[in-house]
Amino acid sequence: MAAGPKYPGFDTLALHAGQSPDATNGARAVPIYATTSYVFRDSEHAASLFNMERAGHVYSRISNPTVAVLEERMAALEGGVGAIATASGQAALHLAVATLMDAGSHIVASNSLYGGSHNLLGYTLKRFGIDTTFVAPGTPENFRKAIRPETRLLFGETLGNPGLEVLDFPAVAKVAHEAGLPLLVDATFTTPYLMQPFAHGADLLYHSATKFLGGHGVAIGGVLVDSGRFDWENSGKFPQLTAPYAGFHDMDFEEESGTRAFLLRARREGLRDFGACMAPMTAFHILQGIETLHLRMPRHVASTRKIVNFLVSNSAVDKVLYPELPEHPDHALAKKLLPKGCGAVFSFDLRGGREAGKRFIESLRVFSHLANVGDAKSLVIHPASTTHYRMTDADLTKAGIGPGTVRLSVGLEDAEDLIEDLARGLRAARK
């Protein structure tokens, strides 16, 4: 094959994509446009902006120059057509669902989901007439069997929660596309550095940018990215995108913009009406994180591997759930889809149940005990004594969590210090 022109590499895009040096003042860093609104040149210009005849910003709930840099950068890193940054990862999931569905629609979702996503799909959206069937993701046929005539979306996480089940993208995407449906994935745990879901057949993805994208734990945000590859018109299931919409001057979003139809409606309706936009300062914070994503993720993974190796050989540990371990059910799939690593969030089961878990957590000095993941600092939580403390052991087991299950998010500290910290905790757990 002849050598063609070359695209910039991931590392270059992580630092530059979406931004041109500031034309007015020459600022190299992304300027923070802390403004709600933008002065029109004249009435004609204003009318053209509102009617989408000219590109530009009108009001920062819809778009903002700082936020737009983050959106474009994430689209570039994921290989999408564009993105919309949102107030949180949950807002990104809601925006995707609300753009594609009406009351009466149905979702088929993996049952290995972040608890917040499970709540939204299993309880909250049900109140608005959107039903979800949860299926075990390890068997792609489970998705097919759950599809109904009113199904509009298949949904899973790149790495499931809490067992780090690896979603078989090629197989689940095939099921989705054969049914004329898009596949949405939560790619938070993998980031575009470890895996680009669009290359494996996903159509839409989102991140909780709060986690590894930011990496610093200072800002809550989300990003919804569209591959632009799903053919809404041929699917015939999405009049939201392929029929005139009275809520936006009878616009047929697909006819108007082709590959941009989903994002166009999500921005022009979803951000306009639900309003879960990202603040420019937040976008700036997340961008600072993304600029070093390609340096941080290999370190996160390398330290995680060291810690996993330490834990599997410790007698206080009953089981470690990490897909790089041969005993993990998705080990072979992980080798195929995640050759750069399976991330830095994983769970292990302590012997000794809830009390052992409490003693372990309370003995740690470097790991921070809190409810978050994906920080530069190492984090830990023991669900049975914190987030899930009301549940019986039997109910915990049903949720895939043992009384001694501990979740770690491995940060960027010296790995030997982290292992020493964990060893202290394990000694306490044994007492």
Partner: protein, 264 residues
Amino acid sequence: MNFTVDGRQAFAYTAAHALDAAKPTVVFAHGAGLEHSWFGLQSRYFGYHGRNVLALDFPAHGRSEGPPLGSVTEMADWVLRLLDAAQVRKASMVGHSLGSLVALECAARHPERIEKIALLGTAYPMTVTAVFLNAAQENRQDAYDMLNIWGHAQQVALGGNPNPGMWMHGDTLARLARLAPGVLYNDLKACHEYAGGEAAAAKVKCPVLFVLGRRDQMTPAKAGLAFAETVAGAQVVQLAASGHSLMAESPDAVLDALIDFLRG
């Protein structure tokens, strides 16, 4: 809006307006491998400002049925048949790249039907390298990458899309992914083999505007300027920051140039 041309469905975007015989008409003709929405902002503007708009999908592109038309002259004749189907007697044309050659040929062959032509990202001859043509003929991904990378100014690779939140390289690749095999090759070959530019340029009597990107890697501004010199009375607008995809890279500047040119 769907029309029937040569017994097949032919689509033209009309900015959600019915055609009005009392209004002047602007036809937008896209470049190789693309479709009507490449002119999204500009065509929408004219549709909401007193014009009929027909933003075309050439056969086998966008929503128009195939097979593709094999030459610029066939495409020009097809445009006239579509105008007949739409019952539009006269129109101005805005053409980009391959579409600019079609617009030129329409104006030369049918001066009674074409009032003005605006040629965006154009040059003559519009040669295509053998490496590019071969890759397209074999439907290889690197053909789409060449069109994508050379089809934008170099700085586009690092972003700064005027359309907030959109990634131009990703958008173009997604559009090209929808093409049937062989269509890009067909279009590039039509550009490469078109030999009627000098004759057409000499015949054209209507007002002509050239809009050229100073950072165009596909049809360099220098080549576009040389072409413009062969067209009597041609106006030229050069956009300093734009590459070949002028409508996406500099949408407002393109629109302003078209508003000025099509006025009156």
